[in-house]
Subunit: 245 residues, 2 copies
């Protein structure tokens, strides 16, 4: 995983984007994650890619026993300690590739919009499985495979078009899994495209029981606040998985 | 499910298409189904949407004990009896919506490219579950959700385009599940679009254990015989599921 959040310019742009409450994290991703979340009361939680810790403080307010919140970015962990610190949350700089070093078991592993940055998904799932207590839950969101398949280039920066009044996205390379480059806040970000079938097979191979899979949709309220979210009907931004050990 | 195969003109055009060995059923779908097939030796098999029975006679040659092969189309069942008859195969005209009337249990339920014609997928899976012996297998193929999402119209009959030398399909409506109309061999055919997530959730809800999910790809040999199959890398025609009771 590349650590763009420790690029100072990127981090500041990202922070100002997140401070604006009208964004896809707040209006689309977070409500769906909350709706799929198992009961956290009295539970120990591991958060992978915790960012500024806004969910970790919520877990504690919802009655979680303790949270280990990890992120690759020192900037993010410093920010999280500052704005969302709590005696029952441990914030820790840790790459997701290194979680097998954690000497603790958890009832719930939670991860929001980080898994598409990870190259070796099978290893990640195996590590998570080993960190879960029996019957523990994995809940995560990622960019949807419908979304990660498209690699923007200088040539195709217009990734959508309207033909006779009907809206279409351009679509290609669904079966070509692997690296996708994109420029985000002027920084080159590397993501990994995996198909839905690969996600399912990796979960099955790593002995997870899939409970639910979901693609993102926008509520009427979200569409009112940000009209372009109506296009979630054509191409969901995010995919969500709830699975059990 | 609409029964276009009993429209005589459609049936004749379909038969002549299938007689040409260079088609996606023979070069793409069938090899993948065979590769995912559980051991059929000594097993009882139910085939849903058997067409001309070409797989049913293969099951018997591969050592299956017996096959009940069903299809909605009288034309197809007559053809199957004629060209692929065997004392251990019972060919029967039966709508997939009526399989709960079958008074027999099976080790394997097999279905090739028929489930996308069925509106109530949950009921179908529940019926299949009830027809399987303990630990029995469901193996099926359908048009891929990547493929069923697009509804061809007079306006967008050009469903693909090349931008700066790069190939793209037009893509829309992924989250709008339900009916899709298309004209095939001059007949209006109704299909149902379901997302990958819905397929997974329906299998889980109906107590199936998913073993493998796969999207179609074309072998080098298939691409040599039919160059357009190289586009399977962009948009797979078919999706396959192997699941267990």
């Amino acid at each position: 995983m590349n650590n763009v959040y420790d690029n100072q310019e990127f981090f500041e742009q990202y922070q100002s984007m997140r401070e604006d409450k009208i964004n896809a994290n707040n209006l689309i991703e977070n409500p769906i994650m909350i709706s799929m979340l198992p009961d956290v009361k009295g539970k120990t939680i591991l958060d992978l890619g915790c960012g500024d810790g806004n969910m970790d403080i919520r877990f504690i307010k919802m009655g979680a026993k303790s949270v280990l919140a990890t992120d690759i970015s020192c900037n993010m962990i410093e920010e999280a300690k500052k704005v969302n610190g709590d005696k029952n949350i441990e914030y820790k700089v840790l790459r997701m590739e290194d979680i097998s070093n954690i000497n603790q078991k958890f009832d719930i592993v939670y991860s929001s919009l980080a898994f598409h940055y990870i190259e070796d998904f099978d290893k990640l799932l195996n590590d998570i499985y080993n960190l879960l207590n029996p019957n523990g839950y994995l809940i995560y969101s990622q960019e949807s495979p419908i979304n990660t398949t498209f690699e923007p280039t200088k040539e195709n920066s217009e990734s959508k078009m309207i033909i006779n009044g009907k809206f279409y996205y351009l679509f290609a390379d669904y079966n070509r899994e692997g690296v996708r480059h994109l420029i985000w806040n002027d920084v080159d970000v590397t993501k990994y495209h995996r198909t839905y079938a690969t996600i399912v097979n990796s979960l099955v191979k790593n002995k997870f029981k899939i409970i639910e899979m979901k693609d993102s949709y926008a509520s009427e309220e979200a569409i009112k606040l940000c009209p372009k979210y109506v296009r979630q009907i054509d191409k969901p931004y995010f995919t969500f998985v709830l699975a059990q050990k």
